[in-house]
């Protein structure tokens, strides 16, 4: 997949993974696994990027005698997901246009 496209998709996927409740690194990877494979170092980069874009906030909480980082979605993060849905409609219409000739030839 095109690297820019994949990057944008992964950002939205990670936001979706923390949309309903705060989550932590390993859980995000596990939740996304059925849909998209994600390595730890990639996830780290995405989380950093989303944090600096104010789309999520981080808090550290104790869990089983150790510290764990939890990620919480911000209003900007929620807006990014909504924007993505609109963008995807546009992409789908572009897809229709791109594959139109294929259909006509069949």
């Amino acid at each position: 997949m095109d690297i820019q496209l994949k990057r944008g998709l992964l950002d939205v996927c990670v936001l979706a993974a923390i949309k309903n409740e705060d989550s932590y690194g390993y859980k995000i990877i596990k939740d996304m696994k059925p849909y998209i494979q994600l390595s730890e170092s990639t996830l780290y980069t995405i989380l950093k990027r989303l944090e600096s874009a104010n789309m999520l906030s981080v808090r550290t909480a104790e869990h089983g005698g150790r510290l764990r980082k939890y990620y919480h979605i911000t209003p900007q993060g929620l807006k990014r997901i909504e924007d993505f849905k609109v963008e995807w409609q546009e992409i789908m219409s572009i897809y229709k246009f791109v594959t139109k000739e294929d259909d006509e030839n069949e």
Partner: protein, 200 residues
């Protein structure tokens, strides 16, 4: 590989990154391993699931902007200590003059090379002038009635023309040589600095 082995190996490989960045990444991987262990994996299995350290490092390096890496590289590994600054200032008469000397040597080499060009051209021009002088004096001597001397000077003039043509070829060749030579020297100086940087 145990968790500690993995983390310390990763720390070593990431040492080119800013310090805070390394700690944060290591904490992240630490948490990832702990979460897997909590699910029932052994430490070794958890480490294995994260992939090889080289893979992680190459991915980290490819994701970090080049500007950040260069900044980290150019930044001295530690700030200069007070006595080092004092030494640097006190030693400036020494190292400044050495630096100036090195610079002057480079300029001198360039001057010598280019003076060869000037010399060849000067020789060529003087031969040309000589042939012109030969023709002029041949005419003057012939007018004065000294025909034998006039013919001699005419011969000198013709010889001068021949020598001038040869010298023109010579000049062109030398200029070409010097151009490529000075280019090579320039590249040599540059690669000297680049190699020094790479060896660090």
């Amino acid at each position: 590989m145990s968790k500690q082995e993995f983390l310390s190996a990763l720390r070593k490989k990431l040492s080119g990154l800013p310090g805070g960045d390394i700690e944060e990444r290591l904490n992240f991987y630490n948490e990832m391993i702990d979460d897997r262990v909590e699910e029932g994996l052994t430490e070794e299995q958890a480490v294995e699931e994260l992939g090889s350290i080289d893979e992680i490092v190459s991915q980290v390096m490819s994701e970090i902007p080049l500007a950040k890496l260069v900044k980290e590289k150019v930044k001295p590994n530690r700030s200069l200590r007070a006595w080092e600054i004092v030494l640097l200032v006190l030693g400036s008469p020494l190292w400044l003059s050495l630096l100036a000397a090195a610079l002057l040597v480079v300029i001198a080499i360039y001057t010598v090379i280019w003076s060869v060009v000037v010399m060849v051209w000067a020789a060529g021009l003087s031969v040309a002038a000589c042939s012109i002088g030969g023709f002029v004096s041949a005419v003057v001597l012939a007018v004065q009635g000294n025909v034998a001397a006039g013919f001699t000077m005419f011969g000198v003039g013709i010889a001068g023309v021949g020598a001038t043509i040869l010298m023109a070829y010579c000049c062109a060749g030398v200029v070409k040589c010097v151009f490529s030579l000075s280019g090579k020297i320039f590249i040599g100086i540059k690669s000297f600095f680049i190699k020094k940087e790479a060896a660090r």
